[in-house]
């Protein structure tokens, strides 16, 4: 049971992290629309990395069960 609780908690971290990345990316794109493509790809990469960190927690949660 605690494995599932831990996995759920680590998703909170992912949500906050990716939300912040997305928010700042939106602001930057609004300030400078001509670099929208680069900001978009950078945002996607950063989101995948943050998600990778959160998935560590999920994998440990899976292994605890």
């Amino acid at each position: 049971m605690y494995g599932a609780v831990g996995a759920g908690l680590s998703v909170i971290g992912a949500g906050i992290g990716i939300g912040l990345i997305g928010g700042r990316a939106m602001e930057a794109m609004a300030r400078q629309p001509e670099v929208m493509g680069k900001i978009q790809s950078a945002m996607l990469i950063a989101a995948a990395l943050v998600e990778g960190a959160a998935l560590f927690g999920i994998v440990v949660g899976m292994m605890a069960q």
Partner: protein, 430 residues
């Protein structure tokens, strides 16, 4: 050999492998187990008819879900409603439709047989005098009674402790408990807490579902890239590509211009392009193959991602120059106490960065599959049409997200590999 002949030879090899599977099946002598009264003639494409093992309706739970996500020794497609000889429906019983896959074991010599002998894990398989059973998705060898030997930690008697004032021994004692496989399968034997199975495992090189995924991916990659390169061989590099070469070229140029060159540098990126391209397309195509229904899930297997991450690690460390190792052991530009403090951390980083690559890919793909399976399973757990109406759009949305994740994970893996390789071959700049 020119390209069309190479392509034909690849197809011929694949066809030969297919046909040799058929001949392997027809040569197999008919071993009769106690439970298998029906002689099973296995031709690839035929399904197992064993009316002794009709299964009950599958209960949707964690085990059922994990069975679909994990690897297995046979390819289970569906459960068909069972009918008796007159064609009447046997209520509540289903016949599993499976294709059995080859089992290849090395146990005093090569042993090759079809996984149908295991009967979906319900029987002890016997081949050339050796007996095997499947427990917890692994093959163990046993004797002809099917003995399973467990080592169980013995609980200390509480009363003894209280009287003596001290525990009788510092380490937990273990005792061995034996049972037979048939008893375990019939539920006559409950495995005690913390028991470990002591039977030996033979070396297992079986063609499981994941290996089939690997072969499918390799076949697709060979097909696509030989056709693309034969276009350039015929028409040269200055003509706009058509056909499959036209589909693949922008992606290859993208990998070169946005992944390899910025990270590795103009002068040295060409050496590493083959690896980066292979990894990119392999991960992308394997993720896509895993999303198909009746699917084969390869990148969700941590062994596969471990090997990919190990390739990156070996490539990075073998092409590391003096600058790279200097940065790890003796980071320039900081005071000496910090250098000594940082050296073990950087050493751990050499292992931890590919480890993160492995976990990232594995967890993303497995988590996606589990979410899709759970959403579809909501229909089966509740068995109502209303749930189906709600669950199918959600599943569709998650599947589209999974398509994005398939490509994105390939991109992130390749980009991080290029980053690590770039840091290894970087020249010192002051």
């Amino acid at each position: 050999m020119n390209r069309p002949k190479m392509k034909i030879s690849v197809l011929l090899i694949a066809a030969f492998a297919f046909v040799s599977n058929l001949s392997l099946a027809s040569e197999e002598p008919n071993h009769h187990n106690e439970a298998d009264v029906h002689a099973q003639s296995h031709v690839v494409g035929d399904h197992d008819h064993d009316s002794h093992h009709l299964v009950d309706k599958a209960e949707f739970g964690t085990d059922y879900l994990l069975d679909h996500v994990l690897d297995s020794y046979d390819w289970h497609i569906m459960d068909w409603p069972a009918k008796d000889e007159n064609g009447n429906r046997i209520e509540g019983k289903y016949e599993p439709i499976t294709f059995s896959l080859p089992i290849i074991l090395v146990d005093d010599g090569l042993k090759v047989f079809w996984s149908g002998k295991f009967n979906h894990g319900h029987t002890v398989a016997e081949y050339e005098g050796n007996h095997y059973f499947i427990y917890n998705h692994k093959i163990y060898s046993t004797d002809n009674n099917g003995t399973m030997t467990f080592s169980v930690p013995v609980e200390e008697d509480e009363n003894l402790e209280n009287q003596g004032g001290e525990p009788t021994s510092a380490e937990p004692q273990f005792e061995t408990v034996k049972t037979t496989f048939t008893k375990y399968m019939h539920g006559d034997f409950l495995i005690p807490e913390g028991a470990t199975l002591l039977n030996t495992k033979p070396w297992d090189f079986s063609i499981t579902k994941s290996v089939i995924a690997l072969l499918v991916t390799v076949f697709l990659m060979i097909l696509i890239f030989f056709r693309a390169s034969s276009f350039y061989r015929k028409n040269g590099a200055l003509v706009a590509p058509k056909g499959i070469a036209g589909f693949v070229e922008p992606i290859i140029v993208f990998v070169r211009d946005d992944i390899a060159v910025p990270n590795i540098g103009e002068k040295k990126y060409m050496r590493y392009m083959p690896y980066l391209l292979t990894v990119f397309f392999f991960i992308w195509i394997t993720n896509l193959v895993g999303l198909f229904p009746l699917g084969f899930n390869l990148t969700g297997n941590i062994a596969c991602t471990f090997v990919l991450a190990m390739f990156t690690m070996i490539l990075t460390n073998f092409s590391g120059n003096k600058n790279y190792w200097g940065h790890i052991f003796w980071m320039p530009g900081i005071p000496v106490p910090m250098k000594i403090f940082l050296a073990p951390i950087e050493l751990v980083g050499v292992i931890a960065k590919p480890f993160a690559l492995m976990i990232r890919l594995f967890a993303n793909i497995t988590a996606g599959h589990i979410v899709v399976m759970s959403l579809i399973g909501l229909i089966f757990a509740n068995e109502s049409l209303g749930w189906a109406g709600m669950s199918v759009p959600m599943t569709l949305f998650i599947l589209v997200l999974e398509l994005l994740v398939a490509a994105l994970q390939a991109y992130v893996f390749t980009m991080l590999s290029a980053l690590f390789i770039g840091s290894a071959v970087e020249e010192a700049h002051h």
